[in-house]
């Protein structure tokens, strides 16, 4: 059972990661709206294809500049 001296600290690291992730999520506003996003996946995103194209072009330009 000596293995737990190794496994438990790993578990602790994982937990630390989870907590850090959670704090980041709260800070960056992931919990600001808990109701809206659930519906958003149901709706079509691209109703303004022209604008989207523009964005894509911009991204392409950026990429080519790099």
């Amino acid at each position: 059972m000596e293995i737990i001296f190794f496994l438990i600290p790993i578990a602790l690291l994982l937990v630390a990661g989870i907590v850090a992730g959670l704090f980041w999520a709260v800070k960056s506003g992931q919990f600001d709206d808990l109701e809206g996003p659930a519906y958003q996946i149901l709706m079509d995103e691209e109703i303004y294809p022209e604008k989207k194209d523009e964005k894509k072009k911009q991204e392409k330009n950026k990429a080519s500049q790099k």
């Binding site: 737990i4 907590v19 919990f31 709206d33 519906y39 709706m43 109703i47 303004y48």
Partner: protein
């Protein structure tokens, strides 16, 4: 009142019945859909043209009716482009990049959010747009070179929503910060708590099957490591509140909670340091986690309430047109006005501050402040109240009072005072808990001393058992868990509780007082009778003539005529109006007059005969005449809401007596009371009278609920045991009320009453269960029969049962 055959056809956009003979339709998803008015038609077309038809597929509520709201809003928006006005709510991140927060009105479901987001994002020059569904607020970033804020606001109005910029108040920001803070504390307690409990299971197993000391020590240290952040960080709000209680020499719930946590934690430390016995880190984290959850939910409910009131207050007109020397004017924020300033108020605008009319003659709608549904006439020298609306013609007004001294502020102060006089039922629970806590502490001390003298090795374990077992966890969760569940259910249905005790009191209510205008009626005038007085013209042509005369007016009376006239209007020559009394004009070469009895008499010398007036129904009367004859009498009435009668019936069956208090005259009130079956009604009451009568009722031992709208009801609302404001017209009333009804659906009121009663039953069950558990467990623990781990288990189980019971309310 509505035609039976017509009731089947409802507006596809807003769900209102389509008026007879009207044929408007919009093709949505390849199908022609009926529309009830031009406004809805325009909105629906804008939505379809923008390729956002799927809004109609995913929405869960019908949209707000579009009529009347669009033009009014469009008039003001340019004001928001001015730099001085923008100062308070626009942030500049770059020279041309601006960011603002907007409050959106009319959002009922997630599809509305999507529609707004897509629509705003599609505007050229808008860089970012986010709508928050929970708070009904939007954040917009735009490029000042390409688009103006007023264009964005107009674009939103195009699809039928109202947006106004807002300056996030201090209060709101603090609550939001607090919510995030709690969320972190809660998340930490949850994540680490799970680990601690996992290790605790290992140790309980060890107690049973045996465990090598080195593993036990290791796991104890790991648990300590995990518990420490929870103990210090997540538990901090309890210690802070407890310390405040102690400083003020009160014993609230936080004192025993903190004490329990601290003793269990330090007891465990002692045990590890060699005093022997068990560690109770699992109890510590679990305890903190559960209580924090309850606190978090409470905070969220409070935040929601404050958001709604804030939105209502912010939506008041905040700008004014001030005259400078010469002929120039400038637009200033209403707060910047000073006494003595002259302001210009155009028709349809809100009067920015209390003042005196210098020039002009117009009708003023004071319904928000006085409850009087009919506009009153003001001319030079008359006093006007800030917040009322100018209806007919432009006015110049000298500002007499500002800020603290205005009538509006006075009413708000009255409200505050009434609120502080309120019986604080909420404090009672805390007082009882305080005594309970004192008793437990005393008992624990006695137990500790007794066992220390008898068996020094066991005293700590037993004392902790006593404290953990009697820990008022279930007891302190019993009420908040039920309240949170019930409040949440009601918010989803459209009834918001902004104060904790509101539901508790609503359950006990035995008298329900209603306001009339805007509450039991919908506040819109309607023609209920047309009496033809001459053979010259039939009813329809009388209506046509009246509507043609009123066509250009925005008076509520005029709207009633225009609404009920179905044919095309006639042109009117030489139209002249006497604000507040009547109109005259020439139609097809015939001079006609429309107005009150006095006006007609003045202009033509004609009078109505007694036998004619006997045939009239009660209500406001408007006469139509030409120079020789009276042509017709119209009787106008405020329409009663459909759900009003069933509500009164339901309340009666639940043993609640309904009363009607109104500022209107006897005939109008008695008619409504009779129709709804309310036996007890009182008319022509001033706000002070209403409050007086309410107090008398309360002195007779009644628990009174009040449903009202309008600022004039605010003091009465505050004086009632529990008050409900109609969310629509009730900007300031909502701030004073315990509950706000956000949907125009009176049925929800009765659902509120039943939910409140159910909630009280659940609370009683919970409390008796928690008490029974404590009474059985306490002597056992004091006698030393209960191991601390059993105590922790029992405590957790009792808390879970309490919470599960409360969850029944969410169904």
């Amino acid at each position: 009142m509505t035609d039976q055959s017509n009731q089947d056809i409802r507006c596809f956009h807003c769900g209102l019945p389509v008026p007879e003979g009207l044929e408007l339709s919009v093709e949505i998803n390849h199908q022609a859909q009926p529309m009830c008015c031009k406004g809805c038609e325009a909105v629906a077309r804008a939505i379809v043209a923008g390729g956002m038809e799927s809004y109609y597929q995913y929405r869960t509520e019908k949209s707000t009716t579009a009529k009347e709201l669009v033009p009014d809003v469009l008039r003001q928006t340019e004001v928001y482009d001015r730099a001085e006005v923008q100062r308070s709510f626009v942030r500049r991140s770059d020279e041309n990049i601006r960011e603002a927060s907007l409050i959106l009105e009319g959002i009922d479901c997630a599809a509305c959010v999507w529609l707004n987001e897509q629509h705003i994002k599609g505007l050229p020059g808008v860089l970012e747009a986010q709508v928050n569904y929970s708070t009904h607020r939007a954040r917009v970033v735009w490029d000042e070179r390409k688009i103006k804020l007023s264009d964005i606001l107009k674009a939103i109005a195009e699809i039928g929503y109202i947006a106004h910029p807002y300056d996030p108040s201090q209060h709101h920001q603090i609550l939001e910060k607090q919510r995030k803070d709690y969320l972190k504390r809660l998340g930490l307690a949850g994540a680490l708590g799970m680990q601690v409990m996992m290790f605790a299971i290992a140790m309980y197993n060890g107690d049973w099957w045996g465990m090598e000391q080195k593993y036990r020590t290791f796991i104890e240290w790991v648990s300590l490591l995990l518990t420490l952040p929870v103990f210090l960080y997540s538990g901090w709000p309890f210690y802070r509140a407890a310390w405040r209680d102690i400083k003020h020499r009160r014993a609230g719930m936080d004192v025993p909670i903190s004490l329990g946590i601290i003793i269990a934690f330090s007891g465990s430390l002692f045990a590890m340091a060699g005093a022997g016995g068990h560690v109770y880190f699992d109890s510590v984290v679990m305890f903190i986690f559960f209580l924090l959850t309850a606190r978090y939910l409470e905070l969220v409910a409070r935040k929601k309430a404050s958001e709604h009131t804030e939105a209502l207050i912010q939506s008041q007109a905040t700008t004014a047109v001030r005259e400078l020397s010469g002929n120039e004017t400038e637009i200033v924020a209403a707060q910047e006005l000073e006494a003595g300033d002259i302001v210009q108020v155009r028709p349809g605008e809100t009067i920015p501050s209390d003042g005196e009319v210098v020039e002009g003659r117009s009708s003023i709608d004071e319904s928000l402040l006085s409850g009087e549904s009919r506009p009153c006439l003001k001319q030079a020298g008359a006093k006007v109240i800030g917040g009322s609306i100018n209806i007919e013609s432009p006015l110049r007004i000298r500002v007499t009072e500002i800020g603290q001294e205005t009538v509006l502020s006075t009413i708000l102060r009255l409200v505050e005072r009434a609120q502080s006089e309120k019986p604080a039922i909420a404090r009672l629970a805390d007082r009882v808990a305080g005594r309970f806590v004192a008793a437990i502490l005393l008992l624990a001390t006695v137990v500790a001393i007794y066992w220390y003298l008898k068996d020094p090795t066991q005293w700590l374990a037993i004392t902790i058992s006593v404290l953990v077992v009697t820990c008022p966890c279930a007891l302190s969760l019993a009420t908040p868990a039920a309240i949170t569940a019930a409040t949440g259910t009601l918010i989803r249905q459209g009834l918001l509780c902004s104060r904790g005790y509101a539901l508790e009191t609503l359950a006990k209510v035995n008298h329900f007082v209603f306001d009339k205008t805007g509450t039991l009626t919908d506040g819109q005038l309607e023609i209920i009778q047309v009496l033809q007085l001459s053979d010259d013209l039939d009813e329809a042509s009388c209506l046509l003539q009246a509507a043609s005369l009123e066509a250009l007016s925005e008076h509520p009376v005029a709207r009633a005529f225009i609404k009920s006239c179905k044919t095309g209007l006639r042109a009117v020559d030489n139209l002249s109006s006497t604000p507040g009394s009547g109109l005259a004009g020439r139609i097809n070469g015939r001079q006609v007059f429309l107005g009150s009895m006095q006006y007609i008499q003045q202009e033509t010398g004609l009078e109505m005969k007694d036998d004619q007036s006997k045939r009239l129904k009660p209500g406001s009367r408007v006469l139509l005449s030409d120079q020789n004859d009276l042509l017709a009498v119209f009787v106008l009435q405020d329409a009663i809401r459909d759900q009003a009668a069933p509500l009164i019936d339901d309340l009666r069956q639940a043993g609640i007596q309904s009363l009607l208090f109104s500022g209107d005259d006897e005939t109008a009130v008695s008619l409504v009371a009779e129709k709804l079956g309310i036996d007890d009604y009182r008319s022509a009451m001033l706000p002070a009278d209403k409050l007086q009568q309410l107090k008398e009722l309360q002195q007779q031992g009644a628990t009174v609920a009040m449903l009202g709208d309008g600022i004039n009801d605010a003091p009465v609302l505050a004086g009632a045991d529990v008050s409900i404001a109609m969310g629509e017209g009730a900007r300031y009333a909502a701030a004073a009320a315990d509950m706000v009804l956000f949907r125009q659906d009176l049925n929800i009121i009765f659902r509120g009453v039943t939910t409140a009663r159910k909630m009280m039953r659940v609370i009683r069950q919970n409390l008796s269960w928690a008490l029974a558990y404590n009474i059985i467990a306490l002597p056992l623990a004091a006698a030393g029969f209960i191991q601390p781990w059993m105590a922790a288990l029992g405590m957790s189980a009792s808390s879970l049962i309490v919470v599960a019971n409360a969850m029944r309310l969410t169904k």
